[in-house]
């Protein structure tokens, strides 16, 4: 009896483990073949890894491309935070494997790519994407070109600046809600802070004027030509007076209680604040439109509006490129996809959907009269085109991303931890020098 039971148990155990082993082997094989990019039907799988909201998935462009090109399968993944995306990408680039066929590169990082990583990325001039290079505004294309002329990235969007606000909250606080009226009242950033004080006096409970001091700071520096680096490539973080003024102004706004003290992109309360009205205004590079629509959802439709920066200044915050890591095994197919995605029509479609402003010159002409229902019919095409035209050509440097993050963290410490602005500035500067060394 015992022997039979033992034997039965042994047989069942053997069969189960055999089945598990076979299943494991089988899964391994199919996963491997998908990784190798060749499935049974002779299709090529292209992996695309981006950050934030590039708008391709949201605008259905990947679907469209796969329909038009049945031999291509696109696998897309996106990390919300660029500051987490970039270190992860660096590790993969360093090890030479694990990178996708197409990787996004933010404008704050492109300078480092062209300066130090020319051998880790593909020169797009040698591929199908090479013919696109001439379609761009000069500064956009130049930023992705190395000293000896290699083009490492194709521009996707730029970030012309506007100011987005909740017209219903402004009305409650007794502020003007018409974009033209507001623009007339906002001659400078000091006027903006004064408007903030007015809002604070009349605002409903639990609502702040602006979302964060860091966002305000980024808006102010976006109008500058020289930010962290000068034309000769020197880090001018400590000597740039305009930078220090922007920092001090944002710190003052934080100390005066004009901000909601939220860390942009990371704090769950920031995500929720779009819909719940925790803040009434936010610095609005064109890609922020996608965030507003995504976070506030349908219930936010018709509550937001957009006006120009104080004094009608033009500015640029953000923008990105698409590059092909050198380790990719499908460079030609990836280049074709990049060329298609950055074509004028596609860039215009993305703008209509998520507000990412095109960098392709023909696309810019296409979007000139786009309006957005969500923003009460605001002429977003016009607002952003004007801002883009008025924006100075910014000087980029390898550690722009590092400096930006450090300054934003320093301003957060002023807002929530009560750190003195002068001390916070010193801490931010030392953090940058620590990393740059």
């Amino acid at each position: 009896m015992d022997t039979r039971r033992t034997r039965t148990t042994a047989v069942i155990a053997a069969l189960t483990s055999g089945a598990l082993v076979l299943a494991a082997c089988g899964d391994g094989e199919s996963a491997d073949s998908a990784e190798a990019g060749e499935t049974a039907g002779g299709q090529t799988t292209l992996t695309v890894a981006l950050f934030g909201t590039f708008g391709y998935e949201e605008s259905g462009l990947f679907e469209q491309y796969m329909e038009e090109n049945p031999d291509i399968v696109i696998e897309y993944e996106s990390t919300q935070g660029e500051d987490k995306y970039w270190p992860a990408l660096q590790t993969k680039l360093n090890s030479g494997s694990g990178t996708a066929d197409i990787q996004g590169i933010e404008v704050a990082r492109i300078s480092e790519v062209t300066a130090n990583q020319a051998d880790l990325w593909t020169d797009l001039r040698d591929t199908a994407a090479g013919e696109r290079v001439a379609d761009y505004v000069d500064w956009k294309a130049d930023a992705a070109t190395t000293a000896d002329g290699q083009v490492l990235g194709l521009g996707t969007d730029i970030g012309p600046m506007g100011l987005c606000y909740r017209s219903d909250l402004f009305e409650e606080a007794g502020l003007p809600t018409d974009p033209a009226e507001l623009a007339a009242q906002l001659g400078s950033w000091e006027d903006f802070l004064a408007l903030g004080e007015q809002f604070k006096a009349g605002a409903p409970e639990g609502t702040a004027f602006h979302d964060s001091a860091g966002g305000l700071y980024n808006a102010i520096v976006s109008t500058e030509e020289q930010i962290y680096y000068d034309a000769s490539g020197e880090l001018v973080l400590e000597s740039n007076q305009a930078l220090r003024d922007a920092f001090d102004l944002a710190a003052q706004a934080g100390q005066d209680g004009l901000t909601a003290k939220l860390e942009q992109f990371v704090d769950p309360s920031w995500d929720a604040g779009f819909g719940s009205g925790t803040f009434a205004s936010i610095a609005c590079p064109s890609w922020m439109i996608g965030y507003i629509k995504g976070k506030a959802g349908d219930s936010g439709s018709g509550k937001w509006n957009i006006t120009t920066l104080p004094g009608g200044q033009g500015g640029n915050w953000g923008g990105a490129y698409l590059g092909i890591p050198a380790a990719s095994e499908h460079k030609e197919e990836a280049a074709e996809l990049i060329a298609w995605l950055t074509d004028a029509e596609q860039q215009a479609a993305v703008f209509a959907n998520v507000g990412n402003f095109p960098s392709n010159t023909s696309a810019i002409e296409l979007v000139g009269d786009t309006t957005d229902e969500y923003f009460q019919g605001a002429p977003i095409g016009e607002v952003f085109t004007t801002s883009a035209q008025n924006a100075p050509t910014q000087i980029l440097g390898p550690n722009d991303g590092v400096a930006k993050n450090a300054m934003v963290q320093a301003l957060l410490s002023v807002e929530v931890n009560g750190v003195d602005p002068a001390d916070a500035w010193e801490a931010g500067v030392s953090q940058v020098l620590n990393q740059v060394r």
Binding site: Q90, N94, P268, G273, Q409, Q435
Partner: protein, 334 residues
């Protein structure tokens, strides 16, 4: 001629190795040599797979980290020798001491309540009660969740504006606390996440330890008129001493390595808050290596952390030995 060949079973595992089957002496020597060799080396061969893996994935990285810590090694660049510069930088860096302090405070905040709670829970679960097994099993469930998932959920719970924690506080009239950005508040929040995860695990370990305390002791104590609390203090606690030591050591090691919870609580950025208010040593190392790209310095931090943990465990053990020696010399007065 007497046979001096050792008596072997008919099915010998050793194949015949001699070309001259008639020659007894050579076969005997080689065979017995092989037999002796197998007897002495078998244990090592059986353990070899583990040790080979350990050498490759445990020992080599340990030694290589020392090597890296003596160089300046930036991601995507060459290593350059700098000797002990990284360690000098480390010990003169205020942020390192801040990280050590935060690791200590978060460690104490998470370990002490956790172990006390676990002890209490185990004591309660030791009684006969309905659905005892259900409670015992459900206690281990937090341990089975993933660190990332639970921390992200807790980050939402501890959100300033819409979080569950602040809502509960508002029910008793306390204003909204900024958990993410506060100093002590953030540390308490992280301690809550860690406590939630590990209390059940430690409670089950204590429960197992309690099973080995003889029931006669409790009987004798209650006959002598001892209350439940006195029984707990004078029978349960001393009986659990080895178990308590084990959990203290494991919790200390775990607290020193705290990484996932503070990282994800801060939104995936390793600076541990705008003023590094909850940056543990693990986060500090990650920040140096992957945010700042300086792997040499990260390696230095890693090694100093390792030495720290070893020292802590040795101190722990020494204290326990001292206490045990004290008790033995004082005699059995309990």
């Amino acid at each position: 001629m007497t046979s001096t060949v050792p008596v072997r079973p008919a099915t010998s595992p050793l194949p015949p190795t001699e070309p001259h089957p008639a020659a007894q002496p050579p076969r005997r020597t080689l065979r017995s040599r092989l037999f002796r060799w197998e007897a002495t080396s078998a244990p090592y061969v059986y353990v070899a797979p583990f040790f080979l893996l350990f050498a490759a994935f445990g020992l080599f990285p340990l030694v290589y980290t020392v090597w890296v810590s003596l160089h300046e090694f930036r991601l995507n660049a060459e290593m350059t020798w700098v000797g002990l510069d990284n360690f000098v930088w480390l010990f003169t860096n205020a942020k390192f001491y801040n990280a050590l302090l935060k690791t200590f405070t978060i460690g104490v905040l998470s370990t002490v309540p956790q172990l006390l709670l676990a002890l209490g829970l185990a004591h309660l679960l030791n009684y006969r009660m309905k659905a005892r097994n259900f409670f015992r099993i459900s206690m281990i469930m937090p341990y089975a969740t993933s660190v990332a998932a639970s921390t992200l959920v807790f980050a939402q719970i501890f959100g300033r504006d819409g979080g569950f924690a602040n809502w509960m506080l508002s029910l008793v009239g306390i204003g909204a606390v900024d958990w993410r950005n506060g100093d002590l508040a953030a540390q308490i929040a992280i301690a809550v996440i860690v406590t939630w995860r590990w209390t059940g695990y430690n409670a089950l370990i204590y429960l197992a330890g309690m099973q080995s305390i003889p029931y006669e002791l409790y009987e004798a104590a209650s006959l002598d008129g001892a209350s439940r609390w006195q029984q707990f203090r004078y029978i349960t606690l001393p009986g659990l001493r080895p178990t308590i030591l084990f959990t203290v050591v494991v919790s200390t090691i775990g607290a020193t390595q705290l990484f996932g919870e503070p990282l994800l609580f801060g939104g995936g950025v390793p600076n541990g808050g705008a003023v590094n208010q909850y940056q543990t040593v693990g986060l500090f190392m990650y920040q140096q290596g992957w945010q700042y790209g300086s792997l040499g310095r990260a390696a230095a931090v890693a090694w100093v952390t390792f030495v720290l943990i070893v020292v802590l465990v040795l101190v722990n053990t020494a204290v326990v030995r001292l206490r045990t020696a004290q008790r033995l010399t004082e005699g059995e007065d309990r």
